[in-house]
Each structure stands twice: as C-alpha cells, then as structure tokens.
Amino acid sequence: MNDSVLGTIGELASTSRIGMLKQRMLDEPRFLSIEQARIVTEYYKSNPEEPRNIQRAGSFAETLRRIEIRIDSLELIVGNRTSGVRAGVVSPEAGISWVDDEIERLSERPQDKFEVRSADVDRFRQEILPFWKGKSLEDRVKAALGEELSAIGKVAKINQTDHSQGHICPDTADWLARGPRAIYAGILEKQKTAAPVSCDFYRGMAIALAGALEFIGRYAELAGRMAAGEVSAENRTNLTEIARVCRKLTMEPPSSFREAVQSLWFLFVLLHAESNASSFSPGRADQYLYGYYENDIAKGLLDRAAALEIIESLWLKFNQIVYLRNSSSARYFAGFPIGFNVAIGGLDELGEDAANELSYLFLKAQAHIGLPQPNLSARLSEKSSQSFVQECARVIGLGSGMPQVFNDESIVPALMARGISREDALNYAIVGCVELTTHGNALGWSDAAMFNMVKALELTINNGICLLSGKQIGLDLGSLEDYESYEALEAAFEKQMDHFIERMIKACDRVDRLHAEVLPSPFLSTVIDGCVEKGLDVTAGGARYNLSGIQAIQPANIADSLAAIKQCVYVERNVRPEEALAAIRSDYAENERLRQYLINKVPKYGNDVDWVDEIAAKWVDHFARRMAGYTNARGGAYHSGLYTVSAHVPMGQNVGASLDGRRAKDPLADGGMSAMYGRDRAGPTALLRSVSKINSENGSNGTLLNMKFLPEFFRTEEGIAKFADFLRTFVRLRINHVQFNVIRKEDLLAAKSHPEEWRSLTVRVAGYTAYFAELANDLQDEIIARTSYGEV
C-alpha cells in the first residue's frame, strides 16, 4: 500500500445515500415476525411423511417463494429475510415453547425488546404453537435432558438447546466463484450417482438451492417492477441495476465488485432464513472480495469512493438482521450479537502480510457507520505494516469498540495444536464474538457450554451445597474447615470440577445429536467444505473439522479467590476458615471488614503478580487438559475458550459471595481474560502481562480481553502511535484477543439517564458491540464500573 492510496482512502466521505438509509433503519421499530413460522408450519403439516432434511429443505424453499420482500429504492445492496428490518423471527423447529411463555412480555423485557402485533399473538397460539408441542428442538432437549440441565445448570450451562447453532463461517469464496447455479448443478450431478442412503441428502440440498435461486430471482422481478413505476431518474437507474445484478446472480457467478457483494449478502440472508441462528460469519471478506475489486479498479469500472459506498451498504445490511432470543439468553448475549464477523488483515497462506486496500476501506466504512455490525476484527501479526496498525488504532479511538484485535502469532499455533493444518490455521476467521474457526470447512460448535469454575469452587468449600439455595448440588468433599492444606483444597476442587465436566460433556453430546436429528441444514451444508464429498449434513459431522468449544469461567475470580484462601487461611493464617465460611454464607453481612481486607490486602489477577496470575493459568490448564480428553458427537475434539460475552452477569447471579470479596450474585469478571473490574490497578501493561501468563493454546476456541481507554489518548498522532506500539507489544506477548471501549464515564452516565439522546452510542459489551441505550440497567452499570486508563 503506498501513501497516496492511503491518503485517498483517508479522505473518502460517506454519501448522503448511506446517511439516509442508516437513519431510516434506526427509525424503524422492531417487530416480532411469525410470517416464516406460519409458512414452515403449513409445510410440515402437509408433508408429514418426508424425512426431516427434506422437510427442512422444503419448508425453507417454500419460505423463500412466499415470504414478503421489500426493496428501498435507495439501496445498492438488497435483500432481507423479512420485509421489516431487525425483526425477531420465530423459528418453530428450534424452539417456541419459550415464545409462548414470553410473547406478551417481549415488548417490555429488560433486554432486547420487540414490538408484538396483537393479531400475531393469536395466530401464533392457534396456528403454530399446538403443532410443534413436543417436536421442536427445545422440547426434545427438555424431554431428554431437562432434569439434568437444571441439576448441573449452575455450574455447567449448556447452550444451543432452543435454536440452531450457527457460529459458522461458510465457504463464501466458493459461493462467489461458482455461483449458486453451478453449485446446484453439481449437487444434481452428485444426486444421480449417489448411493441410495445419501440420495435424500443431496435431494434436500437441491431443493434448498432451487428455493435460493427463486428468492434471488424475486428480487430481480421486484426491482424491475419498481423501476417501471419510479419517477426519480437516479432511483430508476439504481433499481434497473439491482434487477440486472439479481437476474445475473440466478444464472452465473458474479464478476463485478457490486455483484460479488450482492451475492455475498444473499448468501447470508439465506443462511439466516434457513437456520435463524446467531452468527454466520463472512470471515476474511477483504481477501476473497479483493479479486473483484482489483479487477474493477484496473478496468476503470469502479473508483474507491463507489467501492466504499457499496461496502457501507453491506455494513448497513449487516445491521438489518437480528436474532430473537429468550429472556434468559438475551441476558447472556445482550444487545443482538448477530455476529457478522468480518476479519481483516492477517497472514496469507504463505505466512506473509495479507492486508490490502479493502482492509483499509473496511476500516473506513467502520469509521463512518459505527453501528454494532459487522463485528469487525483486525488480525495482526508481527508482519502487519505500521500503517495498518495505526489505522486500526485510529478507528478504535473513535469509540465504536471496533475493530477488535486478534493475534495471528498466538492463534495460528493454538489452532494447529488442535490438529488443524497450517494452511487452514493461517486462514482462520472469527465467528460470533471472538470464537476462532477455519474458513468454510468447520463446524466449531463454539458455544457448546459455559463452565462456571467459580461456582465449582463455592461447592468445593461448602460441602457441595449451593450458598444461594442451600441445596446439595455438588459432591460433598468437605468444607474449607476440613481441608488441612491448600493442596488438599486444590485436590478437592479438581475433583469437583471433573465431576461436573463429565456430566456436562454427556449433555453436550446429547444436544449435538439432537441437532442432527431435528435441525439438519441442507442449505448450509452446500457451503461447508466436506459435506458434499462425505454425503453428510453439517450437523451430522459433514464438515472437514468438527470441534466443540466450552468456556472456562472466570480465571480472574478463581485466581483472586484462591489467592485469598491461600494467603489468609493457609499461609498467614490471619483468617480462620470458619470465619471465612461464615462471611460468605451471610454474604459478608456481619463482616464488611473481612470483605475489604480480602479485596485490598490480597494481590489480584491483572496486576502482574506472578503467583496470583499463575493460579489462573493453572486452572485454565487443568480445564483445557480435561477437554482434550473428550471426543464430540461429530467425531471431533472438545477444546476450551475463555470468554463470557455478557454471561458474566447472569453467571454471577448463580454464585454466592466469594472469597475474592465479591458479593453474592454480583457479576463475575467481564470478558474472559479480563481482571475483576476495578481491581487491575497497575495499568494496562501490567494487565497484558498478567493475561499473557495464561497459555494462549488453552484459548483455541477463542478468548476475550476487555480494556477501556479514554478518548484523550487518541487525540494526537503521538497518542495514536503509542497506542499502535501498545498493540504491537500485545502481539509480541502472544495474547489471542483484545478489544477496547473508548468512551468517557460521563457519556455513559448521560446515556443511561437519557437513552433517547444516545440511541446510536455503541459500546463493547463483550465479544461484540451493542447499542448502550438498549442494554439492561445492571449491564450498563457494570460497563460504567469497568476500569479505564488513559489519564496518567
């Protein structure tokens, strides 16, 4: 990249078209949508004998033929799975019992509200709900595992129980290169020669792809009709072009940049329409779109300003699909983290820096749009150019929380340690928030479960009895009074953890198998490398790589609690075990003195104190070793991640008072790798050093570190350069991930009191960015409380 190109990109402005489209989108209310649920239900009712994958493919195709579609005459890139934007789509195959419980409250719940049309409530209860009783994934999981899930739930929270799994990065490059028409033809070919057992598998794929082609064709027709009636010449030209692009895409692969971006967007609309899941990830779009871009620029068909407008159109589109979760899940994953995760920069297949002009244009689009999606991720390596690192720093300084930063130097080896080839590891992408995946050939099942180590420790020191409910939920191995040494306590903790890990893995395997039974995904399987060759659905292990990721939560609280126990109870012996137990049993009601002592007089994780940081590293190690001993239902490995998204809040609610001085039900440390909020007082360099002591290979499923800087830091070129150096040192320290909130505390307080004035303010919640005004109050408070740096 030469300086003049950089300068040109730096000066590009956002167009009024983009401004208007953005405003219209934000002004449109969010509704619950049952349109697809009605079509799907009708289809299943009329086709009761078909195998499940054909029902899935058929109902998907039927939806694509019938669902109402809409085009805004200003749009350059079109398509959505509902006519309204940001609709909450009900997905009956995955789970609707919870919708029945919550439908009246959806417009009032604290997190992720949706308007509900009253007619829809009746239709939902009469036409949809009765048919699915006992048939949905949610009901099947409940029948198979209901009791076990609640028995272990406070320690091991099993995910993916009422929705499709998603969290996958399709082979978009192949989708673009061949186009859906050719992929369809290839499937028909396969179907002819397939063994009888696989015949239905290919038939399902063909039905799904035929529906997809019709769907794209409907946009061509609609745009054509609208063009005929359009009075504005400019809009008419645009609509005519939309019609041409869409028509072409039904027949052949894209050749121009605009066509490629439109084709990419259709792919993601289709994936969401099939699965209604969180996170289908475009991945390394700066790499696979570059050929189209370069070609158009070289031929003079496109200039950088026009390319940026197309990119920004796509960026807006990424914000038009949200994902409807139940209230509990909305608290764990607050603020619609739909996970259109776009990774820029990083190393290419030869291990050289891959950043290109599109990487910079994507950063520019992020600077202009500043909305929660895409989840923009910058891949950095020691080979990243200074200009790229500084541009990332500059955009981070704008405060939208993006790009988040990933480290090729630690992630590539971490993935290779999981048996992934070097080529695929170098081509990694991110799904969801921070979860790592290979590109186009893996089902990573990255949110299989979350393991609450802090709760397991509570049970270990309290006879297996939950401090909150008084119920026996874990193994009774004794209490803090019974362990004669710190080592004895550690041995018991290990046993308690292993007990729950064993039960958790069994439950995860069962859920995984139920997905394959209930939610085969024929369309998705056409764009995941391995499925067509193996003749296996992606949910049944068709992908080349099949991992399952479980998060170990939270190293900071474990390190801080065990450090307190070790120092006060076993080494200095200035706190008697019975006093410590009495204090946490009463939530420190009678002993604020002890709570303060534990907070202030015991060193904490995140301050570069080796013996405390090593406790965190040790238990993460233990967890990762246990994961490596299990194989999942699709024949792949389990591995560990270190992130919570926003789950540190509800998971904290499951934990009684802890000996790190945390009160009962208070949030755990945020993120995954972060220190407990407010307790990392030695500054950001010390925090990074603490984090670097946790083996990054143990975070091969993804890790999350939150840091907050004040905007002053980014005001001068000198500040930006220092921040870039800070990022480069992060790379050298081999930490997988870091992300930054850049915001003033006063801003957040104001946004909390006057949400209407701060509607577009975005903050980094965890692995994603959300509208601050749309977060629940306690999560807002928690973000305000996080430590900030910058004034020294």
């Binding site: 003195r593 002053e712 001068t716 040192t729």
Partner: protein
C-alpha cells in the same frame, strides 16, 4: 541500597518518549507552593489517612501499640492520629482492611525497584520508551537513583530523570553516564520571586542548567504554568531569553496547572488555600506564551493528551 519512594507507576506516557514506567522518589530541595506531589517533599514516610475509604471498623485503634489512634463516634475525621505518639510502626496500616490508613511511600531496594521498572521492557522496546525517575527529585537520593538507572541501562533500557536542578553540580554530573534524557524544570526567572514561591533562590538552578547544557546531554526543559505566578508574559519572556542564551534551540514543554493536586493537600492536612480559585490556562493562553518562546528560537513541545502531575490512581 534502599531508597524512599512514593510509588512506581507503569504505562506513563508523558515523562519522556514512548511507553514508560516512572519511579517517583521522595524528597525534594524546593518547596513550590503549587507542588503537584506534596507527598514527595520529604524523604521520610508518613501515615496517610483517607477518610472516604474508612469503614470505621476500629481495627486500627486496637492494633496500635502506642495508643496513637482514636475514633470518637461520628466526629471527623473518624480516625484521629496523634502524630507525637505515632512511631510509624505500620501495624495499623497492615491491619486496615481498606486502604484508609496507608503510608505515603515505602522503602525499597534499588534492585527491587529496577525489577518492577523492567517488567514492561517489551513495551519499551516496541515504543522506544523506557523508564523515568521523577519525584520528589532524584538529586535528593542520588546513590539510590543512580543504582536504579545503572541496572536499567545495563538491561538496554532508555533512562530519563526529572529534576528541578536544585543540588550540587557534582551530584548532577554523576547522573550523566547513566541518564539518556534530562527533563529539567525551570519555574521563575526572577530570583526573589523564586525564593518567595519555592523557598530557594534560583542561582544554583540556573548555574546547573547552564553547565548541563554545555555538557551536551539530551535536555528537555519544562516550565510549569502557574496562573499569575510563572505563567506571566514577563516571566516567560525572561526565561526564554535565559534558555536561549544557555541552550540555544532548546526543546521546551509547558506543564499546565493541575487543580487535582488540591485533594492531596487536603489528605495531608495541609492548607489548600493556594489552590482556591486557580484554574488551568486556556489553550489560547498557552498559545500566547508559546509564541514568546518561539520568538527566541526555542522549540515548543505540545502534548495535548497530557494531564500534568501524578494523578490519583483510581
């Protein structure tokens, strides 16, 4: 050897180039009315009571072997320290569950101080940063400071000191081999005013400045902007002439007045009167003073991100 320090702060960005860590020493030869780090004036360690952190548990009163602490119901401050009786044994500080009672510094060995300073060496290498010894003033504990600097130097790390130049030139000269950058303060050109506001005249300081400049060391000159005192046209003009004569083309940085130091005075039971009604200079006010320096051919370094002084660690 051991030294008396306030603290070591990592990730400092305004005490020299790049990302740095700064060691704040105790003890200073001057008594500036506006001092930003009053806990750095004396080398001795003092007991510091922060009422807002106090939960009135009374553990400190019980722990004191000298009967120097008292807590009387609701009266402020909650804990009264009898400083005649207090022997600074530290029992109350250890017992205090919060940090309401703490020392305003600690004694640490040069090796231990250097160990902490060198923890962020990866950050220094990447950013061309390093370590800085500030204060207080390094000239008050030269042996300790030099030992720390030498260890850091040996580890290949860039070193800087921040000094008001009030000390023997021979002492200052000893720093030259182990210090890459001297950040030196000039406050007032008029010797009588200097005496009035810092308790010392500026003859020695000016002599040291001239000698150091002749020595050819890397020098960054700083001028604190205290409204109505140092930040006057006449003072800045006079300082500018002096600097130009002794150190032509010098790099000079203004350090704007920081009202936050007021809290520290309150904490130490010192008068806060000086700070009443005093506000930092506006950007345009600084611009005007900058022109004066530039008219004398000096290079003004402006860092808009800085907030002067060592702020409270939240």
């Amino acid at each position: 050897m051991d030294g008396s320090i306030i603290d070591i702060k990592r990730f400092t960005l305004h005490d020299g180039q790049g990302i740095r860590s700064t060691l704040f020493l105790k003890g200073c030869g001057l008594r500036c009315a506006w001092c930003q780090n009053p806990e750095g004036l004396e080398t001795g360690i003092n007991l510091w009571y922060l009422e807002t952190q106090c939960i009135r548990c009374g553990v400190c009163v019980e722990s004191c072997p000298s009967d120097a602490l008292r807590m009387d119901g609701e009266s402020h401050p909650f804990i009264q320290i009898n400083r005649q009786r207090c022997t600074l044994c530290g029992d109350c500080v250890a017992a205090c569950p919060t940090t309401a009672l703490s020392f305003d510094g600690r004694v640490i060995s040069a090796a231990a101080a250097a160990e902490t300073l060198l923890r962020d060496v990866e950050f220094y290498r990447q950013s061309a940063g390093g370590i800085t010894i500030s204060g207080g003033d390094p000239l008050v504990q030269p042996d300790f400071a030099i030992e720390v600097l030498e260890i850091c130097r040996k580890a290949g790390v860039h070193t800087a000191i921040e000094t008001c130049l009030f000390g023997n030139y021979e002492t200052l000269e000893r720093f030259v081999p182990c210090t890459d950058l001297f950040i030196v303060d000039l406050k007032l050109d008029d010797s009588a005013l200097h005496l009035e506001y810092t308790h010392r005249d500026n003859k020695l300081i000016k002599r040291n400045y001239a000698a150091l400049a002749r020595r050819g060391v890397e020098l960054l000159t700083r001028i604190p902007l205290i409204p109505g005192i140092t930040a006057t046209e006449s003072n800045i003009s006079a300082l500018a002439r002096f600097i130009r004569e002794e150190n032509p083309g010098a790099r000079v940085e203004f350090v704007n007045f920081n009202p936050l130091a007021r809290n520290k005075y309150a904490l130490m039971n010192r008068s806060t009167e000086f700070f009443d009604g005093m506000v930092p200079l506006s950007a345009s006010g600084i611009d005007a003073l900058q022109k004066i320096l530039e008219s004398e051919g000096l290079v003004v370094v402006r860092d808009h991100t800085r907030s002067s002084g060592r702020s409270e660690v939240a």
